[in-house]
Subunit: 323 residues, 2 copies
Protein backbone atom coordinates (compact mmCIF):
# COMPACT_ATOMS: atom_id res chain seq x y z
CA UNK A 1 0.00 0.00 0.00
CA UNK A 2 1.27 3.47 -0.92
CA UNK A 3 2.72 5.70 1.73
CA UNK A 4 1.31 9.02 0.61
CA UNK A 5 -1.19 9.07 3.44
CA UNK A 6 -3.02 12.31 3.89
CA UNK A 7 -3.49 11.94 7.60
CA UNK A 8 -1.32 13.65 10.17
CA UNK A 9 -1.58 16.97 11.90
CA UNK A 10 -0.46 19.27 9.06
CA UNK A 11 -2.88 20.99 6.73
CA UNK A 12 -0.50 21.24 3.80
CA UNK A 13 -0.05 17.93 2.02
CA UNK A 14 2.72 16.67 -0.22
CA UNK A 15 0.53 17.45 -3.18
CA UNK A 16 3.03 16.60 -5.91
CA UNK A 17 3.61 13.19 -4.39
CA UNK A 18 -0.13 12.51 -4.22
CA UNK A 19 -0.58 13.65 -7.82
CA UNK A 20 2.23 11.33 -8.93
CA UNK A 21 0.86 8.39 -6.99
CA UNK A 22 -2.63 8.68 -8.42
CA UNK A 23 -1.77 9.22 -12.08
CA UNK A 24 -1.96 5.73 -13.59
CA UNK A 25 0.89 4.17 -15.50
CA UNK A 26 0.27 4.18 -19.24
CA UNK A 27 0.02 0.55 -20.10
CA UNK A 28 -0.18 -0.57 -23.76
CA UNK A 29 -2.33 -3.54 -22.81
CA UNK A 30 -5.19 -1.31 -21.67
CA UNK A 31 -8.09 -0.54 -23.96
CA UNK A 32 -10.25 2.50 -24.61
CA UNK A 33 -12.13 3.65 -21.57
CA UNK A 34 -9.92 2.10 -18.93
CA UNK A 35 -8.18 5.41 -18.21
CA UNK A 36 -11.49 7.01 -17.39
CA UNK A 37 -14.85 8.04 -18.81
CA UNK A 38 -16.11 11.41 -17.62
CA UNK A 39 -19.42 13.17 -18.25
CA UNK A 40 -20.18 16.84 -17.80
CA UNK A 41 -23.81 17.77 -17.19
CA UNK A 42 -24.04 21.39 -18.25
CA UNK A 43 -24.34 23.81 -21.14
CA UNK A 44 -27.47 25.72 -22.04
CA UNK A 45 -28.51 28.40 -24.50
CA UNK A 46 -26.62 31.02 -22.53
CA UNK A 47 -23.48 29.16 -21.46
CA UNK A 48 -21.35 26.92 -23.63
CA UNK A 49 -17.74 27.69 -22.69
CA UNK A 50 -17.83 26.25 -19.16
CA UNK A 51 -18.86 22.65 -20.04
CA UNK A 52 -16.32 22.66 -22.86
CA UNK A 53 -13.52 23.73 -20.50
CA UNK A 54 -14.41 21.00 -17.98
CA UNK A 55 -14.77 18.25 -20.57
CA UNK A 56 -11.66 19.04 -22.62
CA UNK A 57 -9.57 19.36 -19.44
CA UNK A 58 -10.55 15.82 -18.48
CA UNK A 59 -9.22 14.56 -21.81
CA UNK A 60 -6.05 16.64 -21.67
CA UNK A 61 -5.19 15.08 -18.30
CA UNK A 62 -5.58 11.60 -19.62
CA UNK A 63 -9.19 10.44 -19.50
CA UNK A 64 -10.14 8.32 -22.52
CA UNK A 65 -13.63 9.61 -23.13
CA UNK A 66 -15.33 12.85 -22.22
CA UNK A 67 -19.07 13.37 -22.71
CA UNK A 68 -21.19 16.49 -22.37
CA UNK A 69 -24.94 16.36 -21.71
CA UNK A 70 -26.35 19.77 -22.56
CA UNK A 71 -29.41 21.45 -24.06
CA UNK A 72 -30.24 21.16 -27.73
CA UNK A 73 -29.26 24.79 -28.36
CA UNK A 74 -25.87 24.42 -26.71
CA UNK A 75 -24.84 21.18 -28.39
CA UNK A 76 -23.82 22.40 -31.87
CA UNK A 77 -21.74 25.20 -30.32
CA UNK A 78 -19.95 22.88 -27.89
CA UNK A 79 -19.40 20.28 -30.61
CA UNK A 80 -17.88 23.08 -32.65
CA UNK A 81 -15.26 23.87 -30.01
CA UNK A 82 -13.74 20.44 -30.38
CA UNK A 83 -14.35 17.22 -32.25
CA UNK A 84 -12.82 15.33 -29.30
CA UNK A 85 -15.92 15.57 -27.13
CA UNK A 86 -19.06 13.45 -27.30
CA UNK A 87 -21.87 15.96 -26.95
CA UNK A 88 -25.45 14.83 -26.25
CA UNK A 89 -28.14 17.40 -27.16
CA UNK A 90 -30.54 16.17 -24.56
CA UNK A 91 -31.56 18.65 -21.90
CA UNK A 92 -34.38 21.14 -22.35
CA UNK A 93 -35.10 24.57 -20.92
CA UNK A 94 -38.59 25.80 -20.05
CA UNK A 95 -38.77 28.35 -22.86
CA UNK A 96 -38.56 25.57 -25.41
CA UNK A 97 -41.26 23.20 -24.15
CA UNK A 98 -44.94 23.24 -23.29
CA UNK A 99 -46.25 22.66 -19.78
CA UNK A 100 -47.99 19.42 -20.75
CA UNK A 101 -44.78 17.99 -22.22
CA UNK A 102 -42.74 18.42 -19.08
CA UNK A 103 -43.38 15.05 -17.50
CA UNK A 104 -42.67 13.07 -20.65
CA UNK A 105 -39.57 15.08 -21.54
CA UNK A 106 -38.22 14.79 -18.04
CA UNK A 107 -38.66 11.01 -18.20
CA UNK A 108 -37.03 10.84 -21.63
CA UNK A 109 -34.00 12.83 -20.48
CA UNK A 110 -33.57 10.57 -17.49
CA UNK A 111 -33.97 7.36 -19.52
CA UNK A 112 -31.38 8.59 -21.97
CA UNK A 113 -28.82 9.57 -19.31
CA UNK A 114 -29.49 6.30 -17.49
CA UNK A 115 -28.39 4.32 -20.52
CA UNK A 116 -24.95 5.82 -20.05
CA UNK A 117 -24.79 6.29 -16.31
CA UNK A 118 -23.05 3.13 -15.20
CA UNK A 119 -20.32 3.55 -17.79
CA UNK A 120 -19.14 6.82 -16.28
CA UNK A 121 -16.35 6.93 -13.73
CA UNK A 122 -17.29 10.42 -12.59
CA UNK A 123 -19.81 13.16 -13.40
CA UNK A 124 -19.21 16.89 -13.33
CA UNK A 125 -22.48 18.61 -12.56
CA UNK A 126 -23.02 22.28 -13.17
CA UNK A 127 -20.61 24.04 -15.56
CA UNK A 128 -22.75 26.41 -17.62
CA UNK A 129 -25.93 24.70 -16.48
CA UNK A 130 -27.92 27.92 -16.05
CA UNK A 131 -30.78 28.26 -13.63
CA UNK A 132 -33.86 27.24 -15.53
CA UNK A 133 -36.17 25.53 -13.00
CA UNK A 134 -37.27 22.71 -15.32
CA UNK A 135 -33.68 21.99 -16.33
CA UNK A 136 -32.55 21.99 -12.71
CA UNK A 137 -35.35 19.56 -11.81
CA UNK A 138 -34.10 17.17 -14.49
CA UNK A 139 -30.55 17.50 -13.20
CA UNK A 140 -31.73 16.79 -9.65
CA UNK A 141 -33.19 13.53 -10.96
CA UNK A 142 -29.93 12.72 -12.73
CA UNK A 143 -28.07 13.27 -9.45
CA UNK A 144 -30.42 10.92 -7.60
CA UNK A 145 -29.81 8.23 -10.21
CA UNK A 146 -26.04 8.77 -10.16
CA UNK A 147 -26.12 8.38 -6.41
CA UNK A 148 -28.07 5.15 -6.64
CA UNK A 149 -25.45 3.86 -9.10
CA UNK A 150 -22.57 4.98 -6.86
CA UNK A 151 -21.13 7.26 -9.51
CA UNK A 152 -18.96 10.02 -8.04
CA UNK A 153 -20.02 13.61 -8.75
CA UNK A 154 -18.07 16.86 -8.78
CA UNK A 155 -20.49 19.74 -8.35
CA UNK A 156 -19.61 23.27 -9.42
CA UNK A 157 -21.17 26.49 -10.73
CA UNK A 158 -24.95 26.35 -11.11
CA UNK A 159 -24.84 22.81 -9.72
CA UNK A 160 -23.82 24.42 -6.42
CA UNK A 161 -26.78 26.78 -6.70
CA UNK A 162 -28.97 23.69 -7.01
CA UNK A 163 -27.31 21.85 -4.14
CA UNK A 164 -27.35 24.87 -1.84
CA UNK A 165 -31.12 25.05 -2.34
CA UNK A 166 -31.55 21.32 -1.85
CA UNK A 167 -28.74 19.97 0.31
CA UNK A 168 -30.43 16.56 0.50
CA UNK A 169 -29.29 15.88 -3.06
CA UNK A 170 -25.78 15.23 -1.76
CA UNK A 171 -26.22 14.89 2.00
CA UNK A 172 -24.54 11.74 3.28
CA UNK A 173 -23.13 10.81 -0.13
CA UNK A 174 -19.37 10.32 0.32
CA UNK A 175 -18.74 10.32 -3.44
CA UNK A 176 -19.96 13.92 -3.81
CA UNK A 177 -17.40 16.71 -4.20
CA UNK A 178 -18.39 20.38 -3.98
CA UNK A 179 -15.97 22.96 -5.41
CA UNK A 180 -17.25 26.38 -4.28
CA UNK A 181 -15.56 29.71 -5.00
CA UNK A 182 -15.72 32.54 -2.47
CA UNK A 183 -19.35 33.50 -3.18
CA UNK A 184 -20.64 29.96 -3.54
CA UNK A 185 -18.93 29.03 -0.29
CA UNK A 186 -20.54 31.93 1.50
CA UNK A 187 -24.01 30.86 0.37
CA UNK A 188 -23.34 27.28 1.40
CA UNK A 189 -22.15 28.30 4.87
CA UNK A 190 -25.13 30.62 5.30
CA UNK A 191 -27.56 27.91 4.30
CA UNK A 192 -26.10 24.85 6.03
CA UNK A 193 -24.39 26.26 9.12
CA UNK A 194 -26.78 29.18 9.42
CA UNK A 195 -23.93 31.63 10.07
CA UNK A 196 -21.37 33.79 8.29
CA UNK A 197 -18.02 32.69 6.91
CA UNK A 198 -15.42 32.78 9.67
CA UNK A 199 -12.02 33.43 8.19
CA UNK A 200 -10.27 33.35 11.54
CA UNK A 201 -10.98 29.69 11.82
CA UNK A 202 -11.53 28.81 8.19
CA UNK A 203 -10.31 25.19 8.22
CA UNK A 204 -12.42 24.32 11.27
CA UNK A 205 -15.53 25.84 9.73
CA UNK A 206 -14.89 23.96 6.47
CA UNK A 207 -14.60 20.74 8.45
CA UNK A 208 -17.90 21.46 10.21
CA UNK A 209 -19.57 22.25 6.91
CA UNK A 210 -18.43 19.00 5.28
CA UNK A 211 -19.49 17.08 8.38
CA UNK A 212 -22.90 18.77 8.42
CA UNK A 213 -23.49 17.65 4.84
CA UNK A 214 -22.79 14.10 5.92
CA UNK A 215 -19.20 13.69 4.82
CA UNK A 216 -19.24 15.06 1.31
CA UNK A 217 -15.89 16.49 0.25
CA UNK A 218 -15.63 20.24 -0.15
CA UNK A 219 -12.84 21.97 -2.03
CA UNK A 220 -12.94 25.62 -1.00
CA UNK A 221 -11.17 27.58 -3.74
CA UNK A 222 -9.03 30.56 -2.81
CA UNK A 223 -5.47 31.81 -2.58
CA UNK A 224 -4.83 28.40 -1.01
CA UNK A 225 -7.36 25.66 -1.70
CA UNK A 226 -8.75 23.98 1.43
CA UNK A 227 -10.26 20.53 1.23
CA UNK A 228 -12.29 18.64 3.80
CA UNK A 229 -14.48 15.56 4.00
CA UNK A 230 -15.65 16.24 7.52
CA UNK A 231 -12.94 14.00 8.99
CA UNK A 232 -9.78 15.91 8.00
CA UNK A 233 -8.81 19.23 6.42
CA UNK A 234 -5.98 19.59 3.96
CA UNK A 235 -4.64 22.52 1.95
CA UNK A 236 -2.90 22.97 -1.37
CA UNK A 237 -0.88 26.15 -1.70
CA UNK A 238 1.57 25.60 -4.54
CA UNK A 239 1.72 28.78 -6.54
CA UNK A 240 -0.77 29.23 -9.34
CA UNK A 241 -1.42 32.54 -11.07
CA UNK A 242 -2.81 35.93 -10.09
CA UNK A 243 -5.14 35.99 -13.13
CA UNK A 244 -8.78 35.43 -12.24
CA UNK A 245 -10.32 35.13 -15.69
CA UNK A 246 -13.55 33.18 -15.86
CA UNK A 247 -13.39 29.47 -16.67
CA UNK A 248 -10.54 28.36 -14.42
CA UNK A 249 -13.03 26.72 -12.07
CA UNK A 250 -14.19 24.57 -14.97
CA UNK A 251 -10.68 23.26 -15.57
CA UNK A 252 -10.55 22.39 -11.89
CA UNK A 253 -13.86 20.52 -11.87
CA UNK A 254 -12.86 18.49 -14.93
CA UNK A 255 -9.46 17.71 -13.39
CA UNK A 256 -10.85 16.72 -10.02
CA UNK A 257 -13.31 14.39 -11.76
CA UNK A 258 -10.49 12.48 -13.48
CA UNK A 259 -8.39 12.22 -10.34
CA UNK A 260 -11.34 11.13 -8.20
CA UNK A 261 -11.99 8.35 -10.71
CA UNK A 262 -8.34 7.27 -10.68
CA UNK A 263 -8.02 7.52 -6.90
CA UNK A 264 -11.18 5.49 -6.43
CA UNK A 265 -9.78 2.74 -8.61
CA UNK A 266 -6.59 2.61 -6.56
CA UNK A 267 -8.42 2.65 -3.24
CA UNK A 268 -10.76 -0.11 -4.41
CA UNK A 269 -7.72 -2.24 -5.24
CA UNK A 270 -6.32 -1.64 -1.77
CA UNK A 271 -3.40 0.40 -3.07
CA UNK A 272 -4.35 3.41 -0.96
CA UNK A 273 -5.93 3.84 2.40
CA UNK A 274 -7.47 7.27 2.07
CA UNK A 275 -10.68 8.92 0.95
CA UNK A 276 -10.53 8.95 -2.87
CA UNK A 277 -12.46 12.20 -3.14
CA UNK A 278 -9.89 13.92 -0.89
CA UNK A 279 -7.06 12.51 -2.99
CA UNK A 280 -8.81 13.58 -6.20
CA UNK A 281 -9.32 17.14 -4.95
CA UNK A 282 -5.70 17.44 -3.88
CA UNK A 283 -4.40 16.15 -7.21
CA UNK A 284 -6.82 18.23 -9.32
CA UNK A 285 -6.05 21.41 -7.40
CA UNK A 286 -2.31 20.79 -7.68
CA UNK A 287 -2.32 20.23 -11.41
CA UNK A 288 -4.60 23.21 -12.06
CA UNK A 289 -2.30 25.48 -10.08
CA UNK A 290 0.80 24.20 -11.80
CA UNK A 291 -0.76 24.67 -15.26
CA UNK A 292 -1.94 28.17 -14.35
CA UNK A 293 1.56 29.13 -13.28
CA UNK A 294 3.09 27.73 -16.47
CA UNK A 295 0.55 29.57 -18.63
CA UNK A 296 1.01 32.80 -16.70
CA UNK A 297 4.80 32.67 -17.06
CA UNK A 298 4.27 32.82 -20.82
CA UNK A 299 1.13 34.91 -21.32
CA UNK A 300 1.16 37.21 -18.29
CA UNK A 301 -1.85 39.56 -18.10
CA UNK A 302 -3.36 38.11 -21.25
CA UNK A 303 -3.54 34.56 -19.84
CA UNK A 304 -6.94 33.03 -20.62
CA UNK A 305 -8.51 29.74 -19.64
CA UNK A 306 -7.69 28.15 -23.01
CA UNK A 307 -4.02 29.01 -22.43
CA UNK A 308 -4.08 27.17 -19.10
CA UNK A 309 -5.74 24.14 -20.70
CA UNK A 310 -2.94 24.06 -23.27
CA UNK A 311 -0.46 23.80 -20.36
CA UNK A 312 -2.15 20.87 -18.58
CA UNK A 313 -0.21 18.22 -20.46
CA UNK A 314 3.17 19.86 -20.10
CA UNK A 315 2.56 20.56 -16.41
CA UNK A 316 1.53 17.00 -15.73
CA UNK A 317 4.58 15.71 -17.58
CA UNK A 318 6.83 17.97 -15.47
CA UNK A 319 5.36 16.58 -12.25
CA UNK A 320 4.80 13.04 -13.30
CA UNK A 321 6.75 12.05 -16.43
CA UNK A 322 5.54 9.15 -18.51
CA UNK A 323 7.72 6.04 -18.20
CA UNK B 1 -1.65 60.60 -5.55
CA UNK B 2 0.00 59.71 -8.85
CA UNK B 3 1.92 62.34 -10.76
CA UNK B 4 0.93 61.39 -14.28
CA UNK B 5 -1.40 64.36 -14.55
CA UNK B 6 -2.80 64.97 -17.96
CA UNK B 7 -3.11 68.73 -17.52
CA UNK B 8 -0.58 71.20 -18.87
CA UNK B 9 -0.32 73.02 -22.14
CA UNK B 10 0.96 70.21 -24.37
CA UNK B 11 -1.35 68.05 -26.43
CA UNK B 12 0.90 64.99 -26.48
CA UNK B 13 0.81 63.07 -23.21
CA UNK B 14 3.25 60.64 -21.66
CA UNK B 15 1.01 57.85 -22.82
CA UNK B 16 3.23 54.95 -21.75
CA UNK B 17 3.44 56.35 -18.25
CA UNK B 18 -0.34 56.70 -18.04
CA UNK B 19 -0.84 53.17 -19.35
CA UNK B 20 1.58 51.84 -16.73
CA UNK B 21 -0.05 53.76 -13.94
CA UNK B 22 -3.56 52.55 -14.71
CA UNK B 23 -2.83 48.86 -15.23
CA UNK B 24 -3.54 47.23 -11.88
CA UNK B 25 -1.04 45.14 -10.00
CA UNK B 26 -1.86 41.44 -10.22
CA UNK B 27 -2.68 40.49 -6.70
CA UNK B 28 -3.18 36.83 -5.72
CA UNK B 29 -5.67 37.78 -3.01
CA UNK B 30 -8.16 39.08 -5.58
CA UNK B 31 -11.00 36.92 -6.79
CA UNK B 32 -12.82 36.51 -10.09
CA UNK B 33 -14.37 39.71 -11.36
CA UNK B 34 -12.26 42.17 -9.43
CA UNK B 35 -10.03 42.93 -12.44
CA UNK B 36 -13.07 43.99 -14.47
CA UNK B 37 -16.32 42.79 -15.99
CA UNK B 38 -17.06 44.18 -19.45
CA UNK B 39 -20.14 43.79 -21.66
CA UNK B 40 -20.38 44.43 -25.39
CA UNK B 41 -23.82 45.28 -26.79
CA UNK B 42 -23.61 44.34 -30.44
CA UNK B 43 -23.73 41.56 -32.97
CA UNK B 44 -26.64 40.88 -35.32
CA UNK B 45 -27.46 38.54 -38.19
CA UNK B 46 -25.14 40.48 -40.47
CA UNK B 47 -22.22 41.31 -38.17
CA UNK B 48 -20.53 38.94 -35.74
CA UNK B 49 -16.79 39.70 -35.95
CA UNK B 50 -16.87 43.18 -34.42
CA UNK B 51 -18.41 42.27 -31.04
CA UNK B 52 -16.06 39.30 -30.79
CA UNK B 53 -13.01 41.52 -31.41
CA UNK B 54 -14.10 44.01 -28.75
CA UNK B 55 -14.98 41.37 -26.16
CA UNK B 56 -11.90 39.16 -26.60
CA UNK B 57 -9.61 42.21 -26.54
CA UNK B 58 -10.99 43.11 -23.11
CA UNK B 59 -10.02 39.66 -21.80
CA UNK B 60 -6.59 39.69 -23.42
CA UNK B 61 -5.77 42.95 -21.68
CA UNK B 62 -6.68 41.55 -18.32
CA UNK B 63 -10.42 41.83 -17.65
CA UNK B 64 -11.80 38.81 -15.78
CA UNK B 65 -15.13 38.45 -17.56
CA UNK B 66 -16.36 39.57 -20.95
CA UNK B 67 -20.01 39.31 -21.99
CA UNK B 68 -21.69 39.91 -25.35
CA UNK B 69 -25.37 40.79 -25.69
CA UNK B 70 -26.36 40.14 -29.31
CA UNK B 71 -29.24 38.88 -31.44
CA UNK B 72 -30.30 35.25 -31.36
CA UNK B 73 -28.89 34.65 -34.84
CA UNK B 74 -25.50 36.08 -34.00
CA UNK B 75 -25.01 34.24 -30.70
CA UNK B 76 -24.02 30.72 -31.84
CA UNK B 77 -21.49 32.20 -34.25
CA UNK B 78 -19.90 34.50 -31.68
CA UNK B 79 -19.86 31.68 -29.11
CA UNK B 80 -18.11 29.57 -31.69
CA UNK B 81 -15.26 32.07 -32.07
CA UNK B 82 -14.23 31.52 -28.46
CA UNK B 83 -15.44 29.61 -25.41
CA UNK B 84 -13.98 32.41 -23.25
CA UNK B 85 -16.88 34.80 -23.90
CA UNK B 86 -20.28 34.73 -22.23
CA UNK B 87 -22.70 35.37 -25.08
CA UNK B 88 -26.34 36.22 -24.39
CA UNK B 89 -28.71 35.57 -27.34
CA UNK B 90 -31.11 38.28 -26.38
CA UNK B 91 -31.61 41.08 -28.88
CA UNK B 92 -34.12 40.87 -31.74
CA UNK B 93 -34.29 42.46 -35.18
CA UNK B 94 -37.53 43.56 -36.85
CA UNK B 95 -37.50 40.82 -39.47
CA UNK B 96 -37.83 38.22 -36.78
CA UNK B 97 -40.76 39.58 -34.76
CA UNK B 98 -44.34 40.66 -35.29
CA UNK B 99 -45.51 44.23 -34.75
CA UNK B 100 -47.72 43.27 -31.81
CA UNK B 101 -44.84 41.55 -30.02
CA UNK B 102 -42.56 44.57 -30.05
CA UNK B 103 -43.55 46.06 -26.71
CA UNK B 104 -43.30 42.79 -24.80
CA UNK B 105 -40.00 41.79 -26.42
CA UNK B 106 -38.52 45.19 -25.81
CA UNK B 107 -39.47 44.92 -22.14
CA UNK B 108 -38.05 41.41 -21.90
CA UNK B 109 -34.73 42.46 -23.41
CA UNK B 110 -34.45 45.33 -20.99
CA UNK B 111 -35.38 43.22 -17.96
CA UNK B 112 -32.80 40.65 -18.92
CA UNK B 113 -29.98 43.18 -19.44
CA UNK B 114 -30.98 44.93 -16.20
CA UNK B 115 -30.34 41.76 -14.21
CA UNK B 116 -26.69 42.09 -15.19
CA UNK B 117 -26.25 45.84 -15.53
CA UNK B 118 -24.89 46.71 -12.11
CA UNK B 119 -22.29 43.97 -12.27
CA UNK B 120 -20.58 45.54 -15.28
CA UNK B 121 -17.68 47.94 -14.92
CA UNK B 122 -18.08 49.26 -18.47
CA UNK B 123 -20.24 48.68 -21.54
CA UNK B 124 -19.15 48.83 -25.17
CA UNK B 125 -22.13 49.86 -27.29
CA UNK B 126 -22.19 49.38 -31.00
CA UNK B 127 -19.71 46.90 -32.49
CA UNK B 128 -21.64 45.02 -35.19
CA UNK B 129 -24.95 46.33 -33.91
CA UNK B 130 -26.46 46.99 -37.34
CA UNK B 131 -29.14 49.58 -37.97
CA UNK B 132 -32.42 47.82 -37.45
CA UNK B 133 -34.80 50.43 -35.98
CA UNK B 134 -36.37 48.09 -33.42
CA UNK B 135 -32.97 46.85 -32.27
CA UNK B 136 -31.64 50.39 -31.97
CA UNK B 137 -34.69 51.39 -29.91
CA UNK B 138 -33.93 48.57 -27.48
CA UNK B 139 -30.30 49.66 -27.28
CA UNK B 140 -31.37 53.24 -26.59
CA UNK B 141 -33.31 51.93 -23.61
CA UNK B 142 -30.30 49.93 -22.45
CA UNK B 143 -28.19 53.10 -22.63
CA UNK B 144 -30.73 55.02 -20.53
CA UNK B 145 -30.63 52.28 -17.89
CA UNK B 146 -26.83 52.14 -17.92
CA UNK B 147 -26.74 55.88 -17.39
CA UNK B 148 -29.14 55.65 -14.46
CA UNK B 149 -26.84 53.00 -12.93
CA UNK B 150 -23.71 55.12 -13.56
CA UNK B 151 -22.14 52.45 -15.74
CA UNK B 152 -19.54 53.89 -18.14
CA UNK B 153 -20.16 53.36 -21.87
CA UNK B 154 -17.79 53.30 -24.82
CA UNK B 155 -19.77 53.96 -27.99
CA UNK B 156 -18.48 52.95 -31.40
CA UNK B 157 -19.68 51.84 -34.84
CA UNK B 158 -23.45 51.68 -35.20
CA UNK B 159 -23.73 52.96 -31.64
CA UNK B 160 -22.34 56.25 -32.98
CA UNK B 161 -24.99 56.22 -35.73
CA UNK B 162 -27.57 55.92 -32.96
CA UNK B 163 -26.00 58.64 -30.81
CA UNK B 164 -25.54 61.03 -33.74
CA UNK B 165 -29.27 60.75 -34.42
CA UNK B 166 -30.16 61.16 -30.77
CA UNK B 167 -27.45 63.09 -28.97
CA UNK B 168 -29.56 63.28 -25.81
CA UNK B 169 -28.71 59.63 -25.13
CA UNK B 170 -25.25 60.71 -23.97
CA UNK B 171 -25.52 64.48 -23.56
CA UNK B 172 -24.21 65.56 -20.16
CA UNK B 173 -23.13 62.04 -19.19
CA UNK B 174 -19.45 62.25 -18.20
CA UNK B 175 -19.03 58.47 -18.25
CA UNK B 176 -19.77 58.27 -21.98
CA UNK B 177 -16.89 57.83 -24.43
CA UNK B 178 -17.37 58.20 -28.19
CA UNK B 179 -14.71 56.73 -30.48
CA UNK B 180 -15.47 58.05 -33.99
CA UNK B 181 -13.40 57.36 -37.11
CA UNK B 182 -13.09 60.01 -39.79
CA UNK B 183 -16.59 59.54 -41.25
CA UNK B 184 -18.35 59.10 -37.94
CA UNK B 185 -16.58 62.22 -36.67
CA UNK B 186 -17.71 64.21 -39.68
CA UNK B 187 -21.36 63.25 -39.13
CA UNK B 188 -21.10 64.12 -35.46
CA UNK B 189 -19.59 67.55 -36.19
CA UNK B 190 -22.24 68.22 -38.87
CA UNK B 191 -25.03 67.28 -36.52
CA UNK B 192 -23.88 68.81 -33.24
CA UNK B 193 -21.84 71.85 -34.31
CA UNK B 194 -23.80 72.36 -37.50
CA UNK B 195 -20.64 72.93 -39.55
CA UNK B 196 -17.91 71.07 -41.45
CA UNK B 197 -14.80 69.49 -39.97
CA UNK B 198 -12.08 72.10 -39.63
CA UNK B 199 -8.70 70.43 -39.88
CA UNK B 200 -6.80 73.69 -39.46
CA UNK B 201 -7.96 73.88 -35.90
CA UNK B 202 -8.80 70.25 -35.21
CA UNK B 203 -8.08 70.09 -31.48
CA UNK B 204 -10.13 73.23 -30.76
CA UNK B 205 -13.09 71.91 -32.72
CA UNK B 206 -12.88 68.58 -30.92
CA UNK B 207 -12.90 70.43 -27.61
CA UNK B 208 -15.99 72.41 -28.68
CA UNK B 209 -17.71 69.22 -29.81
CA UNK B 210 -17.10 67.44 -26.49
CA UNK B 211 -18.22 70.54 -24.61
CA UNK B 212 -21.37 70.83 -26.72
CA UNK B 213 -22.31 67.26 -25.82
CA UNK B 214 -22.01 68.20 -22.16
CA UNK B 215 -18.58 66.86 -21.33
CA UNK B 216 -18.63 63.39 -22.85
CA UNK B 217 -15.18 62.18 -23.85
CA UNK B 218 -14.46 61.89 -27.57
CA UNK B 219 -11.56 59.89 -28.98
CA UNK B 220 -11.13 61.04 -32.57
CA UNK B 221 -9.27 58.27 -34.37
CA UNK B 222 -6.69 59.18 -36.98
CA UNK B 223 -2.99 59.22 -37.74
CA UNK B 224 -2.73 60.65 -34.25
CA UNK B 225 -5.64 60.01 -31.90
CA UNK B 226 -7.07 63.18 -30.32
CA UNK B 227 -9.02 62.96 -27.10
CA UNK B 228 -11.14 65.59 -25.40
CA UNK B 229 -13.70 65.80 -22.62
CA UNK B 230 -14.58 69.43 -23.33
CA UNK B 231 -12.11 70.65 -20.70
CA UNK B 232 -8.80 69.55 -22.24
CA UNK B 233 -7.49 68.02 -25.45
CA UNK B 234 -4.75 65.41 -25.55
CA UNK B 235 -3.15 63.42 -28.34
CA UNK B 236 -1.53 60.00 -28.67
CA UNK B 237 0.85 59.64 -31.60
CA UNK B 238 3.04 56.64 -30.83
CA UNK B 239 3.52 54.71 -34.02
CA UNK B 240 0.93 52.07 -34.88
CA UNK B 241 0.65 50.42 -38.26
CA UNK B 242 -0.17 51.55 -41.80
CA UNK B 243 -2.61 48.64 -42.22
CA UNK B 244 -6.26 49.74 -42.07
CA UNK B 245 -8.01 46.37 -42.07
CA UNK B 246 -11.48 46.34 -40.59
CA UNK B 247 -11.91 45.47 -36.92
CA UNK B 248 -9.11 47.53 -35.38
CA UNK B 249 -11.67 49.99 -34.02
CA UNK B 250 -13.27 47.11 -32.14
CA UNK B 251 -9.99 46.27 -30.42
CA UNK B 252 -9.77 49.92 -29.43
CA UNK B 253 -13.29 50.08 -28.01
CA UNK B 254 -12.74 46.91 -25.94
CA UNK B 255 -9.39 48.21 -24.70
CA UNK B 256 -10.71 51.63 -23.79
CA UNK B 257 -13.55 49.97 -21.85
CA UNK B 258 -11.11 48.03 -19.66
CA UNK B 259 -8.89 51.06 -19.02
CA UNK B 260 -11.84 53.31 -18.25
CA UNK B 261 -12.99 50.76 -15.67
CA UNK B 262 -9.52 50.54 -14.12
CA UNK B 263 -8.96 54.32 -14.19
CA UNK B 264 -12.33 54.92 -12.58
CA UNK B 265 -11.42 52.56 -9.76
CA UNK B 266 -8.15 54.44 -9.14
CA UNK B 267 -9.79 57.86 -9.30
CA UNK B 268 -12.53 56.75 -6.90
CA UNK B 269 -9.84 55.69 -4.43
CA UNK B 270 -8.16 59.10 -4.70
CA UNK B 271 -5.09 57.69 -6.42
CA UNK B 272 -5.52 59.94 -9.46
CA UNK B 273 -6.85 63.40 -9.96
CA UNK B 274 -7.96 63.27 -13.57
CA UNK B 275 -10.98 62.37 -15.67
CA UNK B 276 -11.03 58.54 -15.79
CA UNK B 277 -12.54 58.48 -19.28
CA UNK B 278 -9.64 60.62 -20.58
CA UNK B 279 -7.13 58.31 -18.89
CA UNK B 280 -8.91 55.25 -20.28
CA UNK B 281 -8.87 56.62 -23.85
CA UNK B 282 -5.17 57.49 -23.64
CA UNK B 283 -4.25 54.05 -22.29
CA UNK B 284 -6.48 52.15 -24.75
CA UNK B 285 -5.19 54.12 -27.74
CA UNK B 286 -1.59 53.60 -26.66
CA UNK B 287 -1.88 49.85 -26.23
CA UNK B 288 -3.78 49.42 -29.50
CA UNK B 289 -1.08 51.33 -31.39
CA UNK B 290 1.71 49.39 -29.78
CA UNK B 291 0.03 46.03 -30.56
CA UNK B 292 -0.64 47.10 -34.15
CA UNK B 293 3.03 47.98 -34.62
CA UNK B 294 4.19 44.67 -33.11
CA UNK B 295 1.79 42.72 -35.34
CA UNK B 296 2.78 44.68 -38.44
CA UNK B 297 6.48 44.09 -37.82
CA UNK B 298 5.75 40.39 -38.10
CA UNK B 299 2.90 40.11 -40.62
CA UNK B 300 3.38 43.16 -42.82
CA UNK B 301 0.73 43.53 -45.57
CA UNK B 302 -1.14 40.47 -44.34
CA UNK B 303 -1.65 41.87 -40.81
CA UNK B 304 -5.24 41.24 -39.70
CA UNK B 305 -7.21 42.23 -36.63
CA UNK B 306 -6.78 38.79 -35.06
CA UNK B 307 -3.00 39.19 -35.43
CA UNK B 308 -3.12 42.46 -33.54
CA UNK B 309 -5.26 40.87 -30.80
CA UNK B 310 -2.63 38.15 -30.44
CA UNK B 311 -0.06 40.91 -29.79
CA UNK B 312 -2.02 42.69 -27.05
CA UNK B 313 -0.55 40.63 -24.22
CA UNK B 314 3.05 40.85 -25.40
CA UNK B 315 2.72 44.58 -26.06
CA UNK B 316 1.26 45.22 -22.65
CA UNK B 317 4.03 43.18 -21.06
CA UNK B 318 6.65 45.22 -22.94
CA UNK B 319 5.19 48.49 -21.66
CA UNK B 320 4.10 47.39 -18.25
CA UNK B 321 5.76 44.17 -17.11
CA UNK B 322 4.02 42.08 -14.49
CA UNK B 323 5.73 42.10 -11.09
Amino acid sequence: MQSVMIGGPHLEVDALCILRSISPALDPTKHKGQAGKIAVIGGCREYTGAPYFAAISALKIGADLSHVFCTKDAAPVIKGYSPELIVHPLLEESYNIREEEKTSISKKVLDEVDKWMERFDCLVIGPGLGRDPFLLDCVSDIMRHARRSNVPMVIDGDGLFLVTNCVDLVKGYPLAVLTPNVNEYKRLVNKVLNCEVNDQDGPQQLLSLAKSIGGVTILRKGQSDYISDGAAVRSVSIYGSPRRCGGQGDILSGSVAVYVAWARELVSKGKFDANPTMLGCIAGSTLMRKAASVAFADKKRSTLTTDIIECLGRSLEAICPVG
